[in-house]
């Protein structure tokens, strides 16, 4: 067991290194990604700053707390873009070009390879930007208990797995239905639901967003960990949800593969 974990860990490091070497070729990408995402960050920040000119609270939080929420959103999204995004985007193409076959012929877990093969190291600039905003927003909170940041060690990976699991369900269906552009668009809409604090939604919707379609877990729960006094129901829920989601993706992937190898010729 330990041996397998070690193998996959070292394999991931090797793939990350290879990704970095490959990305060095395209240095312009680093800057163009920052350029595009900077506008997105600005749009989110300005929207809330303007809204808060006219209201005290949105959901449970005031303007300073909302800035933290956005900071967390930026950082988590950057991690997702670096580690996972490019791989899931390319599933359709891999299936179409037959590259999936080459992956299946290797003695490693195909879901692992498919998910983590390429890291988009160019997005690192965005991670820096997002982290700066997060730190800036935390400094603006009076009496912030910095020990709370330790929660993020558990919660960040959980959030990433939640994004991954949900996105994976959408993307992996490309293995079954070869045309899935609409599904990608649908995913983006669903993901957006998680970009607003869960407390903003009506109770019924909020419940759904934390359980059935758990995009609400992605940013809202780490935000609660930092901003509210510890509420174990919220903070420990991801630990239950995450193994369930991972198991779900595992079963779904096996199903998709069976379909794939029975349908191709």
């Amino acid at each position: 067991m330990i041996k397998t974990l070690k193998k996959y860990f070292l394999l991931y490091l090797a793939m990350f290194k290879a990704s970095f070497i490959a990305d060095l070729e395209y240095r312009a990408n680093f800057f163009s990604r920052i350029l595009t995402d900077v506008f997105w960050y600005i749009a989110q920040i300005i929207t809330f700053e303007v809204l808060y000119q006219h209201t005290e609270k949105i959901g449970d939080w005031n303007v300073k707390e909302m800035r933290v929420f956005l900071g967390l959103l930026f950082v988590i999204d950057a991690f997702y873009m670096i580690i996972i995004h490019e791989n899931l985007e390319n599933i359709t193409e891999k299936v179409r070009k037959g590259d999936l076959d080459l992956l299946l012929a290797k003695p490693v877990n195909s879901q692992f390879m498919l998910t983590l093969q390429k890291a988009n190291t160019a997005i690192f600039g965005n991670l820096l930007l997002g982290s700066s905003w997060l730190i800036y927003s935390l400094m603006g909170l009076e009496g912030f208990n910095y020990a709370r940041l330790l929660w993020l060690i558990i919660l960040f990976p959980c959030s990433l797995i939640v994004i991954y699991s949900m996105r994976f369900m959408f993307s992996a269906s490309a293995v079954i239905f070869t045309r899935s552009e609409n599904l990608q668009f649908l995913w983006w809409q669903v993901y957006r639901l998680g970009m607003r604090p869960d407390s903003m939604y009506t109770p019924y919707v909020k419940y759904v967003l934390l359980t059935l379609i758990p995009v609400g877990v992605i940013v809202s729960i780490p935000a609660r960990a930092l901003l509210n006094p510890p509420n174990l129901t919220y903070l420990l829920w991801p630990l239950i949800l995450v193994p369930l989601l991972l198991y779900g993706t595992h079963r779904f992937w096996n199903f998709a593969l069976k379909f794939y190898s029975s349908a191709s010729s």
């Binding site: 070292l10 090797a14 290879a18 070729e25 076959d101 299946l104 003695p107 029975s262």
Partner: protein, 276 residues
């Protein structure tokens, strides 16, 4: 000699949706779909001995790639059974995958933007290979293939011939017992083709893996193959050596064997297409 590959009544049928003609039928097709059954591979039973090179020949769509994909575990058969190195290929057990290698002629398994050496480092991790040993192997293989000078250049900067050589090294790195080669020389110039043929012949005589080779270049088959599997419309229509095949079908002519073989195959394929 031990049988490395055995199949019993291996069959692969798949459904294709019959696209209707015209507007009325297209509308009807929304709730009433007609399916066509296509037999890609029809009840095949073959036995292949260890250490042999088998040439798989047939027209496009005859079932070569299907057979190859079933034996390498990429496609699940509709019925029947197969055993490769003692495993059922489509169960894709890691122990099986570690001992086999598949080279698909037009596809790259190596990363496009990094050097072959960097890709091999990754492969070594995937196949749990000892790093120094792997490095040595790479050097050996690259010397024979005469491509050591480009090992450190990014894959996308290499010519097609050099890329193919790199792919071959990658496929042989983990010293597989079974090698599936699907069109390994496609698109290469004559010199590169011969290079690779010589290399494969030498490698097989030294390491004795079992090789299943498909190719549209009859020179590949004639030079390399010990046995011939001729497949037509999903059925194996001939199983035996290349010489026997040429002799059986062309007993009167006694010309140069290579030309004969190609002629004979061409006539065979022509009759095939006419009968369709």
């Amino acid at each position: 000699m031990k049988n490395v590959i055995e199949t019993h009544d291996l069959q692969r049928i798949y459904q294709t949706y019959q696209k209707p003609e015209g507007l009325v039928n297209s509308i009807k097709g929304i709730w009433e779909r007609k399916y066509d059954s296509k037999i890609a591979l029809d009840k095949t039973s073959i036995k292949i001995e260890a250490g042999k090179i088998i040439g798989l020949v047939g027209a496009n769509g005859a079932g070569k790639t299907t057979l190859l994909k079933i034996l390498s575990g990429l496609v699940t058969p509709s019925s029947g059974d197969a055993s490769v190195l003692g495993y059922r290929p489509w169960e894709r057990k890691n122990d099986f995958l570690r001992q086999m290698s598949i080279l698909l002629g037009q596809k790259n398994q190596l990363w496009w933007d990094i050097s072959p050496l960097d890709s091999y480092a990754l492969l070594a991790r995937i196949y749990d290979l000892d790093v120094t040993h792997a490095r040595k192997k790479v050097d050996e293989l690259a010397s024979v293939l005469d491509c050591k000078h480009v090992l450190n250049t990014q894959l996308r900067r290499l010519s097609l011939g050099e890329r193919m050589k790199m792919e071959i090294i990658g496929a042989l790195l983990h010293e597989p017992k079974i090698l599936f080669l699907d069109e390994p020389t496609i698109g290469l110039d004559i010199v590169a083709q011969e290079n690779i043929r010589h290399f494969l012949a030498k490698y097989v005589s030294e390491k004795e893996p079992t090789v299943i080779l498909t190719s549209h270049y009859m020179d590949d088959i004639a030079t390399l193959a010990d046995s011939l599997l001729l497949i037509s419309k999903g059925k194996i229509v001939y199983q035996g050596t290349v010489e026997q095949f040429t002799n059986n079908t062309n007993s009167e002519l006694a010309h140069d064997e290579k030309v004969d073989f190609e002629e004979v195959i061409r006539r065979f394929l022509e009759t095939e297409s006419r009968v369709r």
